[in-house]
């Protein structure tokens, strides 16, 4: 059984302008000890997927349907009491902005100890020891002295270390990292990613790495989910996604990033602008921007198609190519490959 199972998750925000389907039928599994990357542009639903798992959606957001299971235990509609035992203990999250996710009016030590005492039955003294131990684990120098300091006395990289220490203090099975290094400089980013990689191996936890930076994904992740407009368009191992992408959107993304040898050549951007989630088209959400869009793409979503035992995509163009190579037959899908 997978550690985390997400099945057909739908999350919407009910705004004055209408229902925004931020997550629209997302399913995936996460095994123990794996690093799963979720990539996508802003508004693709990658963060909302994470917040739905944790059930920390803001204001008008609501899980409409679907299931989230951790260790076989259903979380959707399980109630706040159950979620309180899950958050921090089984799943922890670190956010993008280390500047705003710490309370400026309390010392680092107090905030760390609060988290530890809330989730475990340690007393104050034990919580203090644990907090110091965690700070040492994330390579904060002089942890005893740092415990007494306030967030403003920490640099961005140091604050993110504190956030990681806090998230890991209760030894969660899953760490969700929502753009953990986006706000950091590249040499600091390298430090934090290395730290996360080492801790992941030492503690054997699973990580969900949410990012828009394909470089971070390439470096950190075993498996990758590519999201567009609230749906997963492709899933595979990191190598499969980077070297043999199946979905037209993934291919477009890979083409559009500058490489070490691209100087002097034109990049191949994806045309158009990201989709308006209030006015979702009927067919494939990427079709309006897709160079290879066919008639069927505009009217019907492509079914999930296996490219290997670990790799699938939902793209008509990909199905067409596979059918032409004779790798699949179109009997179970519609006769839709043609222009």
């Amino acid at each position: 059984m997978a550690l985390l199972e997400v099945k057909d998750l739908h999350t919407s925000f009910f705004t004055d302008a209408g229902e925004v389907k931020a997550v629209n039928g997302v399913s995936f599994e996460l095994e123990r000890g794996k690093v799963l990357g979720i990539v996508g542009e802003s508004g693709s639903g990658k963060s909302v997927t994470a917040y739905s798992i944790m059930q920390i959606l803001a204001g008008t957001g609501k899980i409409v349907s679907g299931s989230v299971k951790i260790d076989g235990q259903e979380l959707v509609n399980s109630g706040e009491k159950v979620m309180k035992t899950v958050r921090g203990n089984k799943i922890s999250i670190i956010f993008q902005d280390p500047m705003t996710s710490l309370n400026p009016t309390y010392t680092i030590g107090k905030q760390l100890m609060e988290a530890i005492m809330l989730h475990t039955d340690r007393n104050k003294k034990q919580a203090y020891d644990r907090a110091v131990e965690m700070l040492r684990l994330v390579n904060v120098n002089e942890p005893e002295k740092r415990m007494k300091q306030y967030p403003f006395e920490f640099s961005g990289g140091m604050r993110q270390r504190v956030m990681i220490a806090m998230a890991l203090a209760c030894e969660p099975d899953i760490l969700i990292a929502d753009e953990p290094t986006t706000a950091l400089d590249v040499t600091i980013q390298a430090q934090i990613l290395e730290l996360m990689g080492t801790l992941q191996k030492e503690l054997g936890m699973a990580i969900i790495m949410i990012t828009h930076d394909l470089g971070v994904v390439a470096q950190m992740c075993d498996e990758v989910i590519v999201m567009y407009a609230g749906s997963i368009c492709e899933k595979g191992t990191a190598d499969e996604i980077f070297y043999t992408p199946g979905h037209e959107y993934t291919k477009g993304l890979m083409r559009s990033i500058p490489s070490t040898t691209s100087a002097g050549t034109k990049l191949q951007p994806i045309t158009g602008t990201p989709i308006d989630l209030l006015n979702m088209p009927k067919g494939c959400p990427f079709a309006p921007r897709c160079d290879g869009a066919m008639k069927i793409c505009l009217t019907e979503r492509a079914p999930v198609t296996d490219l290997s035992s670990t790799h699938w995509s939902a793209c008509w163009q990909c199905i067409k190519e596979m059918a032409e190579k004779g790798e699949i037959t179109l009997s179970d899908t519609k006769e839709g490959g043609e222009e």
Binding site: M158, D185, A190, L193, A218, A263, K266
Partner: protein, 327 residues
């Protein structure tokens, strides 16, 4: 293509900000400290470094948006000094800002935003000419004429950045300072804007100072790249040269820290881990600013700032031990 004639030349540029450190005491923050470089006509010079290293301040001081504390800025061989010089210079040199959300006035229509520099410099005879020029500029950046009467909030990030670029092009400049123009944009949109910078450069024979922290983007667009650390320029060389064979220990760490969007390369990459954080520019270390994080630092590095000198042709570096560590 770049001609071998400097359009912009900067000599010993310094920009200090006075920061209050007590009730009656202030201390100079050396945002830019003794930086010299030149940019050839038609060339793109990339400027990279981490936050707080002074790269944005270089761009702004270069355009006299801040008054330089010391140093000289030459445009086409002519020293920019008096107010009249500056006004004239600003017709030739403009800027594209990082944040396409806050750099456009929400109360102005797109046509007025783009037309404002024309108004300021009086670059048209009548209303009709102004309108034509605005439409021409919008065409340059791929906006439709129907967008002219809309407001900035109606556009996506990528389109807003196009408006910002059209505004920068309005006075028909030769030189544009691009301050992180693509870092607020999504990957798929970023490529569109980068290509546009490329095309405009060819079409209008522009010279860029391209400030960014994303090294892959900078390498893609730049002819040469300069690396800054704590207000000092530590290395400057041809783009490929500096990425493949960085000489300064900081550039080496910076280049190795870039996450490569290629799993096999990323896994094999031997990163040089830097210890610690950037020191505060208010308490910059003596001598070489990088010495507190540098594995090669010696006593000499604490005593004096190494000279910024040519190590090989066109490859400038400021490090006392550059010869020893690059054997």
């Amino acid at each position: 293509m770049s001609e071998n004639k400097p359009l912009i030349e900067v000599k010993g540029l310094k920009e200090y900000f006075n920061i209050n450190v007590g009730l009656f005491r202030s201390k100079p923050l050396k945002a830019v400290d003794d930086v010299s470089f030149f940019i050839n006509k038609g060339e793109t010079l990339g400027l990279v470094g981490e936050s707080g290293c002074g790269k944005t301040t270089v761009g702004r001081t270069l355009l006299h948006l801040y008054k330089p504390t010391a140093g000289e800025i030459y445009y086409d061989g002519k020293l920019i000094k008096s107010k009249a010089d500056i006004k004239e210079f600003r017709k030739k040199a403009t800027m594209v800002f990082q944040d396409p959300y806050s750099s456009l006035n929400p109360r102005m229509t797109v046509a007025d935003i783009i037309g404002e520099p024309l108004d300021i410099h009086g670059l048209y005879k009548d209303k009709k000419e102004r309108e034509e020029r605005i439409l021409e500029l919008m065409g340059h950046v791929g906006l439709n004429s129907e967008h002219a009467s809309r407001y900035a909030h109606e556009f996506s990030g990528g389109q807003r950045q196009r408006i910002g670029i059209a505004r920068a092009l309005a006075v028909n400049p030769d030189f544009i300072v691009c301050d992180e123009p693509v870092s607020a944009l999504d990957v798929s949109i970023q490529a569109q804007v980068i290509n546009m910078f490329d095309e405009l450069q060819d079409k209008l024979n522009l010279t860029y100072l391209f400030i960014a922290h994303d090294l892959l983007v900078v390498r893609h667009i730049s002819d040469r790249i300069a690396v800054m650390y704590l207000g000092k320029m530590v290395e400057l060389a041809d783009a490929n040269e500096i990425c493949e064979r960085p000489l300064h220990p900081y550039s080496k760490a910076l280049m190795s820290a870039v996450p490569m969007p290629d799993p096999k390369v990323a896994r094999a990459n031997q990163r040089i881990a830097l210890q610690g954080d950037i020191p505060s520019p208010l308490n910059a270390p003596s001598g070489c600013p990088f010495r507190t994080r540098c594995q090669y630092a010696t006593d000499k590095c604490a005593e004096s700032m190494p000279e910024f000198k040519e190590a090989s042709k066109g490859h400038f570096v400021a490090c006392h031990r550059v010869a020893e560590i690059n054997d």
